[in-house]
Structures are given as structure tokens and as C-alpha cells.
Symmetry: C2
């Protein structure tokens, strides 16, 4: 295949790889330079001075996905309406002008969600087409992917096309409550029994703002240890997400929920999903995003670059 | 009645009054010296140096309610289990030792809430008994009070006794999301049409973490104005609370929801409750907390002080 630089450029972080002729990652870099953390540099400067030198391969074209295509990023790529598939992304790549070697950005997706409210994604679409490309059998039938994170995405795929999705602000709620809440929490966030108590406390996922207060009430009444409250909160938020989204995304009895993400978080979601009585498969997010970017390049994303 | 100092001492603020022989407030003070904001002073120092001098009435006994009775406060007062009424609070007042003039603190309440999880209140119990004392007819029958705030309380009263309650962390969620969220929000939080859109977007109150993301998605898709996002968020959170709590507290068709709180917030909740098809009454929180503290003093709270 065409050698190229693959970059997953998010809000807080970026990861890049140099992909060789055989499709192997020949170099790799991870930097805390998400589009909201550029510390005065432009995206272009950051790419030229930090990303390219770290990956080598001068003059290679680059394919980027994630928040780098938002209005905080390098160029604004559109949100394509669902249903959408890999070829739609390919047709709406955005080309960055005025760079020494070609750079293109993958567009995001939008859909109408709960109560007609809009929903959007940027970056996850590349994971999804990458997940589909990892196994030809996935091109057929209906699949449900859960991509946990700051803004978790639950995505329905039918016949190789993303038909709709929903976002839960779970990771962000955890972060802001942990940092800023008067709930008053300790430091332990990997206590699996407390995480399990949180999953149980999530119930049917309703009345979240009421259940959240129990994180505090359990501590002040002496029923729980303050230090382990973050583990309880994590279970409560993840359990609420799973309960609400399984219903919202019409997950069928016996249907497997495919979790795509960073291994530690994917594992926690796996525990939650299995306790809710569904099967899971887990795929590492690094593998799926690389698979998606390579698929787009194989389909011609950088052909005339 | 016995002249005394009445103090509602919360987490971020305190309000105090000097109550005269006729039950009138002869002096009043409001200070940003909640128990989490004492800036190195002890509660005792703050009371002696800031509260007493501001109110005058040297040597008068004082009755305090709120977070001043928590482990962050002056003395830890217990959480009495529900059902509970004014006489129960009276029997469990906590006396502060080593002060030149008598000081007593009203205990809080606890109950078993959603899914058997514990719930607690401190300060609101005094509003509730005060609300009951404002009208003798309220001692009979069943009433539902909504006390909005950082941690909103919904309280069921039957035959003059608080039988159970639930807390929604609505105000705190609004604050932490507004300050710390990557939702990215503007500054306008009093736009009533956007607030109404938020109320509508709350739907049945379920899947809150999904609905919250729409605050952002509406802006990035151009459907809404970023500057007015706080008003939308406020409506979304308040609407979700009302939908969830009306169900959880078994509010009957045609039952009036009695809102007790600061006028501006009470008004927003009033809009939300009326749009959900229920009647409201609104009582100013200053009036109810003073009524509660005076009731306890009339029942003998400071008799042997």
C-alpha cells in the first residue's frame, strides 16, 4: 500500500504512526498535544515540528482523524449525516492547503438522536469502519459497538453502514465530578468491589442525578469508605450508561455488544455489560483506528495526493 | 418568645437574624462564610467574631441549622431516621460546649432511598417544619415539597411528619458542567426560551448523560447559539429532575407541588413544574427557615439554655 502517516488527533491527546508499504506501523508517537492543548502553537506548527519529526518519512502524505477536523482543529471537516459508510467518508475528505506534503482529514458524522436532538461524532467513525474491515463477516447483518470514553458512543451498524448512534457524556461527568464536586471523594478508582456496588446502584439508569448523590450519602452515613468513592462513582456512571443505551439502541436479547477502546476502560465496560446479562467482544482502539485509516488509504484517500 | 439568634449556616454561605421578643427579625446578616469557606478560621471564631457582632444581642442564645452540624462544621449533629417531625429534631439538638452564650444545632435527617441507597439532608428539615408551621392546615394530609438548590430535596410529608425524601444533584451538576465541561458554553443563563427548549429536551428524565451531550451537539451543528447553552443546560437539568422525581415521589395527578427556596430559582422550577402539568405554590426559603427555627424555640429548644 501507499506509505503514509496515520494520525488520531483528539481533544487532549494525539497518536501517530508511520505506515510502511506492507501496512506495518514502522514508527509511533503519542503526545499530550490534543487540539485543546496546543499551548499557543497552531495545529500546522505542531504537525510540522512535533509529529512529522517524531515519525520520520519526510514527504509522506498524511491522513488524520478526530477533533483535528473540528473548529478547534486544523480545517473544519463536515459532519456527514447517517446512514454513512467508508465510501461516504472517502468522498468528503478535507484537504489541508499550504503544506509541504499532502494532509487530509476524515469528516465526522451526525444523526438525529433522542427526542429529535442532534448528535455528532468525530474520530469514532474511523474506528467503526476499521472494526468492520478487521473481519469481512462484519459487513453483513446488524452490529452494536460501544466505544467508551470522555463521550462514549454507541453505534448501530447494518449491512456495513452506520445507521445511527448515541453519545453518553459518562467520562466527562466522571472527570468533572471527581475534580470539582462537593461530593468529596478520595483517591482510589480501581476498587472492583466498589465499582460493582456502583454498577448495582445504577439500577435501570434512570434518575441519574438522584443516584449520584448516593455517592456522598453512603460516605456521610458511614456505609462506605470515602477513599473508594471514585470506584463507586465510576460503576454508577458506567452502569447507568449501559442500562440506558442498551434500551435506547434496541439491543436484542442475546446480542453481543462489541466494545472498542483503550484496554483498561474496555475491561470495566466489559464487566458492566456482562453483569447486565449480555455477551461482549473487546477490540483494542489502537487496532481499530489504524485499520480504519489504512482502509481509507487502500480505497484511495491519498491517491492523487 | 425568647429572644435568640437564628442562623442558617450552609456549605458556602450563612444567614443570621436576631429574633426579638415579638418574633420579629431585628437584625440580619448574610456572609460568604459557609463551613467550607472559613479561610483558616474555626466555626467558633467565625461565630464569635463575625456573626454575633453583626447581629448584636450579646449573651442571647443561638439556634443553628445546616451544614454547621456536619463533620465540616462546629459539632456533628446526628442524622435522625425518617419518619421524623419537629419534636424529634427538638429531642436531638446538639449543644455546643465552651461558648460564652448557649449555642444549639438542629440535627439532620436520613432515609432509605432509591434501590435501598441512603439519602441525607441537613438544613432542609428546618425549612420543612417551618413550612408546616406557616399554616395549621398543613399538619393534616399528604404534601410534597420541592426544595431546589445545589442538592435539591423532594420531601413527602404525611400528617405533619416527614416520611421520606430524595436528593437530586441538579445544582451541583449545573455548576461543575458550566465551570469544567468541554461542552463549551457561553455566558447567558437567563434566556427563558432556551430554558424552555432544555425543559422539553429533558423528556422523561431518563438517559441524562445522553441528553446532556445534546447541549454541545446543538451548538456544533449550528442548531443553537453557544452563548445561550447555559440556559438550555439549566432547563435540561431542572426538567430531568422534575420528571424523575414526580415519578419517584409518587406525585398524584392534580397534586400541588410546593416549592420552597430562593425566589429566582423557585420561579424556574415553577415554570418546569407547570409545564409538566402540575400546580405549584411558592414559598420564600428565608421565611420557611426562620419559621422553623422559631417553632423549635417556641417548643423549648433554648429553654434551659
Amino acid at each position: 500500500m501507499t506509505p503514509f502517516l496515520a494520525v488520531d488527533w483528539g481533544t487532549t491527546n494525539l497518536r501517530g504512526w508511520r505506515i510502511g508499504r506492507e501496512g506495518d506501523a514502522e514508527a509511533e508517537v503519542e503526545l499530550p498535544l490534543g487540539v485543546s492543548r496546543l499551548a499557543g502553537q497552531t495545529t500546522a506548527e505542531c504537525f510540522a515540528k512535533a509529529v512529522r519529526p517524531a515519525l520520520g518519512g519526510e514527504g509522506l502524505p498524511a491522513l488524520l482523524c478526530g477533533m483535528v477536523g473540528s473548529n478547534l482543529g486544523w480545517r473544519t471537516a463536515p459532519y456527514l449525516p447517517c446512514p454513512a459508510q467508508a465510501r461516504d467518508l472517502l468522498q468528503h475528505l478535507v484537504t489541508v492547503e499550504d503544506v509541504p506534503a499532502p494532509v487530509r482529514i476524515v469528516p465526522g458524522l451526525s444523526c438525529k438522536g433522542l427526542g429529535g436532538l442532534p448528535d455528532v461524532m468525530r474520530g469514532e467513525e474511523t474506528h467503526i469502519i476499521g472494526w468492520l474491515a478487521l473481519d469481512l463477516a462484519r459487513q453483513k447483518g446488524s452490529h452494536l459497538i460501544c466505544h467508551p470514553g470522555t463521550h462514549s458512543k454507541w453505534v448501530r451498524i447494518i449491512g456495513g453502514s452506520i445507521t445511527h448512534f448515541a453519545t453518553a457524556m459518562t467520562g466527562e461527568l466522571f472527570d468533572v465530578l471527581r475534580k470539582a464536586s462537593v461530593i468529596g471523594m478520595g483517591s482510589v478508582d480501581n476498587d472492583i468491589p466498589e465499582f460493582g456496588e456502583g454498577l448495582k446502584a445504577a439500577g435501570d439508569g434512570g434518575a441519574l442525578s438522584v443516584r449520584l448523590f448516593s455517592t456522598r450519602a453512603r460516605v456521610v452515613t458511614g456505609e462506605a469508605d470515602r477513599n473508594r468513592a471514585p470506584s463507586f462513582l465510576s460503576g454508577l456512571l458506567i452502569g447507568s450508561e449501559i442500562a440506558a443505551l442498551v434500551r435506547m439502541m434496541d439491543v436484542q436479547e442475546g446480542e453481543t455488544i462489541h466494545i472498542v477502546g483503550a484496554p483498561r476502560l474496555a475491561e470495566l465496560y466489559g464487566i458492566g455489560v456482562r453483569r447486565s446479562g449480555r455477551d461482549t467482544s473487546i477490540e483494542d482502539g489502537e487496532k481499530t483506528v489504524l485499520s480504519g485509516l489504512k482502509l481509507l488509504v487502500e480505497l484511495g484517500a491519498l491517491n492523487d495526493a
